[in-house]
């Protein structure tokens, strides 16, 4: 079992690629940098493929497979080993991360071909792969946190890749700081976990939890704290504000980090900790509520954005909400399924957007596009496929995953009507704004100067990944298809052991396989499908058939329009309520008072005391002999007095 016994190879490859490119790549030609970076990530993917093959040969009692490499730290009872584990969930995540990562690396060679800092980009990208894989492979909370923080770091570095541009640098900072808030909650959660279980190792925690029950209040606290980390990292309400700004980074970065992998870390974490969450229903409810509200809320903002990448950013926030909704209602497998399909179609959407931007000479405003359908056909078709997937049109990947989530919300063990309603409404809006994007960008008359912009299709190293991802966006969801025709959902079945090994109660009896036709009909004639098609039709009406309708609607619902167009002023509210007071405190209290007066004052004060007292003492050397004589006498008096005291005479 070469790979399984040496899991660290999967981590070492991208790390080596990052180090080589970062340290040596500055003077290398682009081809050399490419070979190192693409080579590293391709080898990683091959290693993962081999790992999967070996995994399938493992006996079930050896899963999860844990590889313990060295003891990282021991502080009394607190012990952290650098240990990696592989179970079914890990396998899914590894495949998604390495496969999509590899495709995006290849795409970047085309997209970033004319950019400066080429080697730096690929160094960071490889580094990101390293940290993400660490996060996914981790066997305990601390190693996962290393990966967690590491991807945050790479996100900051990559968002602010064009660091000379102020808005990009600010966006990087905003991302880092906002996720930091979540990370603080996560850290406290880890501390609570350690306090409760005396260990931060997953298997140890889960076994201990199954054997000795822990108070529900404590579990709820832990889960909610861990979830705040997910809220930050996966951009849910209220910590989502960094993700739209993160679009300042290059488009491949948006695709990889802010669509396919990093932002899904929160979902992965919740799924990984499912034994804890399953025993804390209140926490699950919180997760589901946050997910559902975010899904709907973010979709409303996406309705009115004009920047093509911003629409996709809000769409990502919204889809992440769906994943959390899935986990929150107990359908962990559905949440992960949606994570996987989302990686495919959202990654594809971003890459296509990059292709459009590349074609339009770096224009990102949809209002200045139009009629690109015939000019960049490959991009158009792949983007259309991705849009069909995300909208949940039957047959495409997104349909299967979104449908499973909404079904769990409707009739699963933790079902909730309002949450289901929010999910369906969000699906409607999703379909609408995504098709709005397609129609504005690819249909209609060109709204730009055709002589100034030379629209051209992207080179092969960009279009081939698009086509591969389009293929996955169609067929990637078909693991679950057999369920509709009387078979079983392969995906959920595969992931089942992860979610049932330490589950609190016996899983509900598998629904008797309904007859083929009933299941299929039930799936097709359902609300999600209806609203998806509805959204498509309304978008067609608004943007193709009668383009004045949006303007009229905006005028008549002016207040609402302004509110949503300005993203509900959330950024402004945060700035006023949180940022400005903090800055004020930092400047006026911490800086002027504590730093300048107290700390500097103390240090300078010591120096001043020394100097002043020295100055006074210096005056003793007056040169006047009589005063010297007087001092001698005074000294003699004191000395005699001391002697008297010592010798004890009265």
């Amino acid at each position: 079992m070469p790979i399984l016994s040496h899991l660290w190879i999967i981590l070492a490859l991208p790390l080596a690629g990052s180090a080589i490119n970062g340290l040596l790549g500055k003077r290398w030609p682009k081809s050399a940098v490419n070979s190192v970076a693409i080579g590293a990530v391709s080898l990683t993917f091959l290693a993962v493929a081999e790992l999967v093959r070996e995994f399938f040969q493992l006996a079930p009692d050896r899963i999860p497979y844990v590889g313990d490499y060295f003891t990282w730290m021991i502080a009394g009872p607190f012990r952290v080993d650098f240990a990696l584990q592989v179970d079914q969930l890990t396998v899914v995540m590894l495949l998604v991360v390495s496969f999509v990562g590899m495709l995006i690396h290849i795409y970047s060679t085309g997209y970033m071909a004319h950019e400066g800092g080429y080697y730096r980009f690929f160094s960071y990208l490889n580094l990101f792969m390293f940290f993400m894989l660490t996060l996914v492979l981790a066997a305990n909370l601390v190693v996962m946190f290393v990966g967690w923080e590491g991807v945050g770091l790479c996100s900051y570095l990559l968002i602010g890749f064009w660091f000379l541009k102020k808005s990009a640098a600010d966006a990087g900072k905003k991302a880092f700081i906002t996720t930091r808030i979540g990370d603080f909650g996560f850290t406290v959660g880890v501390l609570f976990v350690f306090a409760t279980f005396q260990s931060i190792d997953f298997q140890t925690i889960f076994k201990s939890l199954a054997a000795n029950p822990v108070s529900e209040g404590l579990l709820t606290t832990i889960c909610i704290l861990l979830f705040t980390g997910a809220v930050g990292k996966s951009a849910q309400l209220p910590l989502y504000v960094w993700l739209p700004d993160a679009m300042e980074g290059p488009t491949p970065v948006s695709a990889l980090i802010h669509a396919a992998t990093m932002v899904t870390a929160g979902v992965y974490m919740v799924a990984r900790m499912n034994p804890l969450f399953s025993r804390a229903p209140i926490a699950m409810l919180v997760v589901a509520i946050v997910g559902a509200i975010t899904a709907f809320y973010s979709a409303t903002i996406g309705l009115m954005q004009t920047d093509i990448k911003k629409v996709l950013a809000y769409s990502t926030v919204s889809q992440l909400g769906y994943m959390f909704l899935g986990c929150g209602v107990g359908a962990y497998a559905a949440g992960i399924f949606h994570l996987m399909t989302h990686a495919f179609f959202k990654g594809l959407l971003f890459l296509c957007a990059g292709s459009v931007i590349h074609a339009m000479g770096d224009e990102q405003n949809m209002m200045k596009m139009g009629g690109l359908r015939k000019k960049i056909p490959i991009t158009y078709w792949t983007m259309l496929i991705a849009t069909l997937a995300i909208a949940g049109i039957p047959g495409f990947a997104g349909f299967f995953s979104k449908d499973e989530i909404l079904e769990a919300a409707q009739s699963g063990p933790h079902a909730n009507f309002i949450l289901w309603l929010l999910g369906v409404a969000g699906a409607a809006l999703t379909s609408f704004y995504m098709f709005r994007l397609i129609f504005l960008t690819f249909f209609g008359e060109p709204r730009y100067d055709e002589h100034a912009v030379h629209v051209h299709e992207s080179p092969k190293n960009m279009t081939i990944p698009l086509m591969i991802l389009a293929f996955c966006s169609i067929f990637g969801g078909w693991f679950a298809a057999p369920k509709l025709i009387g078979g079983i959902d392969h995906f959920s079945t595969f992931l089942d052991p992860v979610f049932t090994m330490y589950a609190p109660s016996a899983p509900p009896p598998a629904e008797s396989a309904a007859s083929a036709g009933v299941a299929l009909a039930h799936a097709l004639i359902s609300w999600p499908v209806f609203v998806a098609i509805l959204g498509l039709l309304v978008a067609w009406w608004f943007y193709i058939k009668s383009p004045e309708t949006p303007k009229r609607l905006a005028k008549s619902l002016h207040a609402l329009y302004i509110l949503i167009f300005n993203k509900y002023y959330v950024d402004e509210i945060y700035a006023a309520l949180i940022v400005r007071p903090l800055l004020w405190i930092s400047t006026h209290v911490l800086w002027h008072v504590v730093d300048e007066r107290v700390i500097d004052g103390t240090v300078n004060g010591v120096a001043t005391v020394a100097r002043e007292s020295g100055g006074e003492l210096r005056k003793l050397q007056s040169g006047n002999t009589r005063s010297y004589a007087a001092w001698v006498v005074v000294g003699a008096v004191c000395f005699t007095f001391l002697l008297l005291l010592v010798l004890g005479m009265r």
């Binding site: 050397q621 007056s622 040169g623 006047n624 002999t625 009589r626 004589a629 006498v633 003699a636």
Partner: protein, 101 residues
Amino acid sequence: MIVPVSYYLVLSAILFGLGVVAFVFKRNVITVFMSIELMLNAVNLAFVAFARAHNQLDGLVFVFFVIVVAAAESAVGLAIVIVLARNRESLNVERVNLLKF
């Protein structure tokens, strides 16, 4: 009536104290030197008194040496005074003020 030794000691103390007063108070360099001699004499008296009290001669030996050293010291000291007076035209101890900060 016998004079107790402590009386001699008190006398010695008084003379010493007066010597100190003169040391601080007087402005003529030579007078300051003389006050030092006065102090030394007072100490000699104390030594002799203690020698008497213990009936040992060692105190007297010490007195002997004090006198010798005082002699040497006055010789050198007065030589310095002469040089000072030559350079400064004044015997005021307050004019000897070059050793300042």
